[in-house]
Symmetry: C2
Amino acid sequence: MSESFIGIDLGATRIKAGLVRDERILGTVVVNLDPADRSQSGVVARLAGVVRELGDRFLEPGQAVAGIGIGSPGAIRHAEGIIVRAPNFEQWNDFELGRMLGEATGLPAKLDNDANVITLGEAVYGAGRGYRHFLCLTLGSGLGGGLFLDGRIYRGADGMAGELGHIGVEPEGFECNCGSRGCVEQYIAAVGLRNYVRRDRLFGDGTEAALADPDLPRRLYEMAKAGHPVAGRYFHDIGYYFAMAIGTYLNLLNVEAIVIGGGMARSWDAFGPTLMSELHRRAYPVLVERTRIIMCELWEDAGILGAAALAGGRS
Amino acid sequence: MSESFIGIDLGATRIKAGLVRDERILGTVVVNLDPADRSQSGVVARLAGVVRELGDRFLEPGQAVAGIGIGSPGAIRHAEGIIVRAPNFEQWNDFELGRMLGEATGLPAKLDNDANVITLGEAVYGAGRGYRHFLCLTLGSGLGGGLFLDGRIYRGADGMAGELGHIGVEPEGFECNCGSRGCVEQYIAAVGLRNYVRRDRLFGDGTEAALADPDLPRRLYEMAKAGHPVAGRYFHDIGYYFAMAIGTYLNLLNVEAIVIGGGMARSWDAFGPTLMSELHRRAYPVLVERTRIIMCELWEDAGILGAAALAGGRS
């Protein structure tokens, strides 16, 4: 019988976890983190409860869970299972989550950052299957990503490689929360659409309200599809700068495929044509022709499936 | 007794080769290629003659050469020892140089592109020793480079990775001979200095003559050191754009060191201060702080020593 693993997608406010066997999610549990208790021991207790619940509800009698995998935001030491720096809470800095959850559950627990886990999910179960070299780009509020090189996740010297959204495409462009400016995510992710709207004051006096609307990217997409010239221009610019970034990735890394996912990827029909035509002007033609630009396959399941693959020993 | 290897630096017009043992070049031979005979068989015969001459002149009695390594410009299939596309002569396309030189000399012959060979030389014998992850940048007429990741040269899916000079830093910048525009080498290499001089017509009616002068980069460097404000600005801009590129490399690849060589690297005192101060604004501070920016150690010997390391089985 195949082994069962638990994959956990740990967010800033929410835990999404699933029991995975034979490439399938048998069941999921979603719980919110306690806003009043961000402590390390509180999070570990909550995660251990989720692990127990998944086993109770979805394992058949006599079966056992073989291991746990976790994808977390922040800077992670994969080999040691430590969150070095979390982007949201100081309490999570130097968090030995792998060891602590292992002790709380009696199961081996492996940890990696969420972008690497998504990339691993696509590599093992999704659009990256069969490729030895590909990049996985997650276009959402920002641009996250992972490098799958020579058949495994490339993590760099300290586990911090793969900041694909933080490459400069405009020397003195929009300020970025990484401390630099002109980073590509400021031009192509949801944060980029907000930059454009703010710069142009697109909605006049209603601009501030529009910027506060979490649905703004979808609203702009629908305006673009309905023929609004400025909204259309924004998605053109997304394709233009996205091509510039992909050209850089291809010329540096000579991968076989670029896998694109994340919420903004669903607007592909608005920015994809510009991206593809620009890309032919941006990278070595031989590299563009040999590289497939494809959609991810796992979408919202990538975090759980990738974490389960991590638990199963893939890396 | 240690083994002896022959390292060959194959250029468009010249062969530079050396006999290497115990990390030392025991002797070198430099010959020009016959301008009237660029044929594959002609080049192989010339290379075989160089191999013979090195053995005759520098081997002690009873010693033998264990293997040959070659660094060549162009797109190379390292594993098969084939020059797929040479930048200078069509006759060198699909050139099975490894096999042909092996048959002509009776010695195993390995091949890689010149930038990877230089990187391997620095990894084994030079400034890259002790690093598991570093980039080697050769700043000359263009910007070449190699990626040393996880303890070996990273070549990508088809051996074409490492085009470090061809990442976009100005969306609609100077045209590049790769077919794109705004590539970093057009701003920081000798070709970049020429772009600046041409744009500004720096020498008035003498501009065309200055552009044709192969010594123009050194002339501008001396002007900058003497306080010429425009020439000084050019080197400032080199540091500025170089920092932008290095920021991209660090955020993507999280390496331990950036090794800089090539003729233009000797102008470090004119562009290095800007590079270092800009770099702190360009990449994640933690990545900048943990990465050493250092000069190469092998300079003109990198090609021969790296090719000898390749012959010795390093890759």
